[in-house]
Each structure stands twice: as structure tokens, then as C-alpha cells.
Symmetry: C2
Subunit: 147 residues, 2 copies
Amino acid sequence: MTTPHPRKQRLAEFIRAIWDEGDADAADRFIAETYTIHHDPGDPWHGQTLDRAGFRDRLVKSRAAFPDQRFHTQAMFADGDSVVMTWLWSATHSGDIPGFPATGRTIRMSGATVYGFDRDDRLTGHWQITDRLGVYQQLQANLMAAE
Amino acid sequence: MTTPHPRKQRLAEFIRAIWDEGDADAADRFIAETYTIHHDPGDPWHGQTLDRAGFRDRLVKSRAAFPDQRFHTQAMFADGDSVVMTWLWSATHSGDIPGFPATGRTIRMSGATVYGFDRDDRLTGHWQITDRLGVYQQLQANLMAAE
């Protein structure tokens, strides 16, 4: 339908390498010198600007409870210096979260993320909404089922 | 910076007339013959396709507890037949919600919405994520403060 969009392709590569595969060393290829979490309710780094070491730390900690997580891109929209991605997500809850011990059950989530790019096509930050109530309800239900 | 984008302007007019002001009669100007809620976790009409009467019914019911609600657009992104809008929202909780009687307190929310347009620039539906956990936490805190 449309010609491939370089930044959409780059974002797809970033999601796969960084968030799906958890390749922290690849962060330097994709991330600008600093990366700002402009808006991300519930994310411990909401509002912070991270250097690359900080980004790798957030990556490792964010994936710890869900090491097999996969993003399923629904659509991408490019405008100006941004690419918006709508997504579904699924993962096995295989690491402990405060209040929610690992259950081995599948957790599903959906969200929408605006990614900013610099002139070198590196990511400068994001603005994100996730359906964290949906996640919380699944964690609660699994906890009660395990008791 | 950029030239005005007709569909972004039209979306801004839709948000103001329909969702901020609650002008149900204006729906016919903005909505296609049918309107599909493709994805909207927590919305009672998630997954449904509505005709214009159904859209007006959803509008009236959605605004009942928050009649002075206002959307504060953060950014818009146009690509293909879609415009994505990131937004903050605030409203006085002045009508009852099941389990949450009106408190007169301000509730805040953020979200991201992908709107689809047809060739006549009418809206055909949306894909949306809202931070409903943030809303739930505020409603809970206000309920406990009132007890």
C-alpha cells in the first residue's frame, strides 16, 4: 500500500532488539545521548531523562518479571519527528513483582506510544499510555487463583 | 512551524463540540454513517460498531458523570487516513458512577487515540488507550476521603 518508511522500520527493529529480545548492548545503536520519558503513568522513570546507562538499567529492570515479552504492533503513524505505535503485548509472568509473586501465567496489555527521533534517526524519548488497570486486574485474578 | 492540517483542525473541532461541549446534535456533522470502537479497554462500547443514534447515546452516557469535562490536546500526528491525538483530560466528578457517588472533586486522566477518517473527512472510529488505573485510584481516594 505505502512505501516503507525508514523510521517505522527503525522503530520495528528497536522494539524487536531492545524490548522483545532484551539486547541491552544494542541500545547504543538506537538511543540518542539522552532519552526522556515525557509521560508514562505508572512507569518508575516517568518524567526522567536518562543517559544510555540509565536506559539500559531501565530496560533490564522493566523486563525482569517478563523476560519472554513480545510486542505485537497494531499500526504505526509517522508525522514530523515522531512515530506513533499502537500495540498489544503479551508475556509470561515469570519473575516476582512487589505484591505479585511469579505465576507462570500469560499477561496481556495494550498501549500507544509516541517515539521522538533526532536527525540521526536515534530515539530521543517517548510519551506513552498503557492499560495498566487491565494488567493489574490480571495480576490480581492470578494471585487469587493461586491462593 | 507546519501548515495547518485540515483533518487535525477537524478533529480539534470534533473534540470541542462533541466531547467538551456535549453537543449531540453536532455528531451528524462529524461522524460517518457508522462509527467503530475498535479498541478501548474499559469502555462499555469496546468492539462495537454504532450508528449515529448509537454514537449520540454513547456520548450522553459517557459524559453524564463529568459534564464539564475538557480535553487538553498534547499533540496530533497525521498519517494516511488517521490522526492520532495524545491528550490530558480533566473534569469535575459531579454525577454518580456505580460504586462511586459524585464528590465534586476534579478527576484527571491521560490517553492516546487513533481516529480514522473517510474521504469526506468524517470520523469512522477510533482505537484508544486511557490510563483508567489512574482514574480508578483517584475515585478510590476521593471515596475514602468522603467516608
